[in-house]
């Protein structure tokens, strides 16, 4: 039951007709040059007034009658075995209602969960933790990645080696590529562990019904359905008996998927106490235990021929996510630039430190930093302009166009001059390429509802991690129904709604918007059937626009949307839509590039970023206003990674020494450069909306662009981030 449609797809100056098969009930994908009423217009986020007035309710703000406050006891030791756990002191404290020993008796990092309590106040819960006696048998531990890789190192996981299996990829013959190169470079780049620092810490409020077979959990999560499924398995409940709600969450960045230990603790305490329990982590626990971006050591070799074409890209990489994995960074090496000979090797090293978790474009900011700085070192050695070097080695037509737009907006030709000031402040510029594949997935379903009073709701079991999901979905539904955005209400963040996927991997907009558009189209069909007899037309001859339903060939024959809704026989009328698999379309990748300008004080070593120009494509941009917020955020998080952020561990004690927000250095208002964002629209035809995600692609190149600019300013590369003053001075030979 499909139909064949021919779509005009592509981008400015480069469009072509593409024929695809789509399901019969699927709205025709928006094409290049499609005239849309509200999609693409800057729209303030629909929940903005609630957030700006403190009225938005986060998990942290949920208070239920009779609710207890939970707290978690954590191991101070990085490696130990729990010989004995005496909970009686806590159990006997007045005001304590439940005390639990958590499952694992093997401690592998300082900060691992040991026990949990629930009490009538958070102060009493904290007091109770101090009364729990734990007999730890401490064991040798290892924090440093190099130490951990030695044969003699203490084993993080029992008998197994700390060195994971190397993940390799190879195309062509990289050794030959290096051999035939006219010029080569070889260098080692390192990046530090970065923590997510979600402003709302991880946590949950859990409540069982009296029978103990219905569980409701409010939690700060990027995936309500993933939490539901984990809890249903743990408590042996049918998934329908578990309801997970997340109306608002204060940041996730990849660290909030599934029923994490604090969510489990809240639910288990609630079951033990028989009343609702709230567990929100203190800041230090958040920093130590809820995830991080692994560090990396990247040994890079590049080769180039006489025409400035890459002949070899070689990466040998190691990284540690503590007791977690996923430390690889080879992604950019494999796909950003074209080269016949590419080899990558990634090895995960386990250490006695808090577990890694996905963080905004996992692996890519690290990899892009090393690859792009190496590209600049290669270009300098080969005597090629850095932007020209990238042009020659990228075959992506979207990126080629974006390089030109960015270079013009930035003034690359004027700023990329070797003449530098004679004083201690050196200026430099850099450019780096982005890439991502935020095409989304099938799976989500949406419901669209029209009420007799003329209001419209769309409901999807997705969640808004701050990207503006509610707003994007309301805009898409409003477009389809010919309504202003403020007449559509987006309801999300509840497993009572139809299924959706977690909000990570830049999935939300591209996965949910097509489901919502289809649901709205199906709802529109039902409203057309009500309107048709009134207008004396066939449903198929009608269109919805300007808050009216009208005859397409004679728009003066019209009835207002409100009047149609008044004829809804019951209270409301609703329709469903599903996210069908991607069609193929024009392109399913994203390019993008960023230019950065820095000032480096060669006497103090302090780096200031003064200007960033970002050019990004994400298919069709639904809301340029909220999209710009995301790009600003990606850039600023990248600058923080380049200059400030570094989780520091004490190698002798095995503990994190900067778990607080004054000791862990984040970018602040005074570090913000001028940022200019240009969106490069691509009609890709891969779904009915052609929308792609933006959160990650906007972050991939930011750190690299700054590092390249610092190299330009100094004439020597700083190959380790964060580029703190000591490292800058060391690179200058002033250490």
């Amino acid at each position: 039951m499909s139909r064949r449609v021919t779509l005009n797809l592509g981008f400015q100056g480069n469009t072509r007709d593409v024929t695809i098969d789509i399901p019969n009930d699927e709205p025709t994908p928006w094409q290049w040059g499609e005239r849309l009423a509200v999609v693409g217009k800057p729209t303030p986020r629909v929940d903005g007034p609630l957030k700006a007035t403190g009225a938005a309710h986060y998990t942290y703000d949920i208070e239920l009658p009779g609710m207890l406050y939970g707290a978690i006891l954590r191991s101070p030791w990085p490696h130990a075995r729990i010989r004995d756990l005496d909970l009686s002191g806590a159990q006997n404290l007045a005001g304590v209602r439940a005390v639990l020993a958590l499952d694992d008796r093997e401690i592998r990092f300082a900060g691992q969960e040991v026990a949990a309590v629930a009490a009538i106040s958070s102060d009493i819960a904290a007091d109770a933790l101090k009364l729990i006696k734990v007999d730890y048998e401490t064991q040798p531990f290892v924090i440093d990645m190099d130490d951990a890789a030695k044969d003699s190192a203490p084993r993080v996981f029992g008998g197994g080696s700390n060195v994971g299996r190397t993940s390799s990829s190879s195309i062509g013959d990289v050794l030959k590529g290096l051999e035939v190169a006219a010029s080569t470079i070889e260098a080692t780049y390192t990046t530090a562990v970065q923590t997510h620092v979600c402003l709302e810490t991880h946590g949950a409020v859990a409540s069982f019904n009296a029978a103990g077979d219905q569980l409701t959990v409010w939690c700060s999560t990027q995936g309500v359905f993933s939490v539901r499924d984990d809890l249903a398995v743990y408590f042996s409940l049918p998934p329908d008996n578990v309801r997970v709600i997340c109306e608002y969450l204060g940041g996730g960045f990849g660290s909030k998927f599934g029923a994490t230990p604090e969510i489990m603790a809240a639910a288990r305490l609630a079951r033990a106490a028989g009343v609702p329990v709230k567990v929100m982590l203190p800041r230090g626990d958040e920093s130590r235990s809820t995830g991080n971006r692994p560090n990396s050591e990247q040994k890079v070799k590049l080769g180039v021929d006489r025409d400035g074409k890459l002949t070899a890209i070689d990466l040998v990489q190691r990284g540690s996510g503590g007791i977690g994995g996923g430390a690889g960074s080879a992604g950019p090496f494999k796909s950003v630039y074209r080269c016949a000979n590419i080899r990558t090797q990634e090895t995960n090293i386990y250490t006695n430190a808090g577990p890694s978790s996905p963080m905004r474009a996992p692996g890519w900011p690290q990899g892009c930093f090393a690859l792009e700085l190496a590209m600049d070192e290669m270009a300098r050695k080969a005597g090629i302009d850095r932007l020209e070097f990238r042009r020659r080695n990228s075959d992506n037509p979207v990126r080629a166009a974006e390089y030109e737009i960015g270079a013009r907006a930035f003034g690359w030709a004027e700023k990329n001059e070797p003449a530098k000031s004679g004083g201690p402040i050196k200026r430099g510029v850099g450019v780096a390429s982005a890439e991502w594949h935020a095409v989304g997935v099938s799976g989500p379903e949406a419901q669209a509802i029209a009420h007799r009073d003329g209001t419209v709701e769309v409901r999807v079991g997705t969640q808004d991690i701050g990207t503006g999901t509610r707003t994007v979905l309301a805009i898409v539904a409003a477009e389809e129904l010919g309504l202003p955005v403020n007449r559509v209400k987006s309801e999300i963040g509840d497993t009572r709604f139809l299924f959706s996927v977690p909000s990570g991997g830049s999935l939300s907009a591209p996965s949910n918007s097509p489901a919502v558009r289809q649901a709205a189209a199906h709802l529109k069909d039902k409203l057309f059937r009500i309107a048709a007899p009134i207008l004396g037309a066939e449903p198929g001859d009608l269109e919805a626009a300007d808050e009216k339903i009208r005859v397409r060939t004679n728009p003066s024959r019209a009835i207002s949307f409100n009047d149609v809704c008044k004829r809804i026989p019951g209270d409301s009328i609703s329709a469903q839509g599903e996210r069908v698999p991607n069609y193929g379309g024009f392109r399913d990748d994203q390019a993008g590039c960023q230019f950065a300008e820095v000032e480096v004080d060669t006497e103090t070593g302090i780096v200031r970023v003064t200007h960033v120009v970002a050019v990004h494509d994400a298919g069709r941009i639904v809301d340029p206003l909220t999209a710009r917020s995301q790009v600003n955020g990606g850039i600023l998080m990248g600058i923080g990674f380049a200059l400030f952020e570094n989780r520091r561990m004490d190698p002798a004690l095995g503990i994190m020494v900067n778990p607080t927000m004054d000791d862990y250095k984040l970018l602040g208002a005074l570090d913000v450069p001028q940022i200019d964002v240009t969106f490069f629209e691509v009609a890709n035809g891969i779904t009915n909306t052609g929308v792609m995600g933006l959160g990650e692609v906007a972050h991939v190149a930011s750190t690299a662009a700054v590092a390249c600019a610092v190299y330009d300013a100094l004439g020597v590369p700083v190959r380790s981030i964060p580029m703190t003053p000591d490292r800058v001075l060391a690179a200058l030979g002033h250490a």
């Binding site: 303030p44 986020r45 929940d47 903005g48 007034p49 609630l50 957030k51 700006a52 007035t53 403190g54 009225a55 938005a56 309710h57 986060y58 942290y60 703000d61 208070e63 958070s122 102060d123 997510h196 620092v197 979600c198 402003l199 709302e200 608002y248 969450l249 204060g250 940041g251 960045f253 203190p282 800041r283 991690i465 701050g466 990207t467 503006g468 206003l625 909220t626 710009r628 917020s629 995301q630 600003n632 955020g633 990606g634 850039i635 600023l636 998080m637 607080t660 927000m661 004054d662 984040l666 970018l667 602040g668 208002a669 005074l670 913000v672 001028q674 940022i675």
Partner: protein, 216 residues
């Protein structure tokens, strides 16, 4: 930057905070048992004779706070911060706890018109002062101009830093309605936004300040 640098020129003089002083030699037993302190401005002036000190805690005591123009009676232990009193005792959850040590600004409220981090102020020290929270500044249907500007300029993403950010900007514009972007940057230097919304915060502040262009 130091928060003291942004002390506003408030028409009302903040007094009890700057006068806060523990009586020396009050006795180890009393000090260990709770807080021995000079009474707050009003109580001191009205009820306590010179040299007589007020003893509070460790058990809960009944205090009165002036929150958003209304007097609120609370029964709290002296160790409870103003932030937790607002959130846990008064249901005013718009003010957020993030760092719990005055480093991030998410809990910013106005004390006699001056922005303070409410996680660093004991509730008992707020007696006798006018406390304004994000809820007191405006509501979703009746927003303060700064809140309106935050919505229009999209100066928020996840929204968790937003109440504190709004309070810092509102205080800055209160003391200088024609604030420049540099002054706004300094006013928000103590507010952390992990989503990186700063450029739109600056744009919103300039918009609220009546500057024609909101571009920062």
């Amino acid at each position: 930057m130091n928060r003291d640098d942004r002390t506003p020129k408030s028409p009302r003089k903040p007094h009890a905070i700057s006068r806060r002083s523990f009586i020396k030699g009050a006795g180890a037993v009393a000090a260990a048992a709770g807080l021995v302190r000079v009474g707050p401005a009003q109580a001191e002036e009205k009820t306590l004779p010179p040299g007589v000190v007020e003893k509070l805690g460790p058990e809960a005591a009944t205090i009165e706070l002036n929150i958003n123009g209304k007097l609120a009676k609370l029964e709290i232990e002296p160790r409870v911060t103003l932030l937790r009193a607002l959130r846990e005792h008064l249901g005013l959850t718009g003010t957020k706890l993030v760092c719990d040590r005055g480093a991030c600004g998410a809990c910013t409220v106005h004390l006699d018109g001056k922005p303070v981090t409410s996680c660093m102020v004991l509730a008992i020290d707020a007696r006798g002062h006018d406390v304004t929270t994000i809820e007191g500044l405006g509501t979703p249907t009746n927003m303060h101009p700064v809140q309106e500007a935050f919505v229009e300029a999209d100066a928020q993403q996840c929204g968790f830093c937003t109440p504190g950010m709004v309070m810092s900007v509102a205080a800055a514009l209160e003391r200088n309605p024609a604030a420049t972007v540099e002054q706004i940057k300094h006013a928000t230097a103590g507010n952390t936004c992990r989503c990186g919304t700063y450029p739109h915060v600056f744009a919103a502040a300039l918009k609220a300040a009546g500057h024609a262009s909101g571009n920062a």
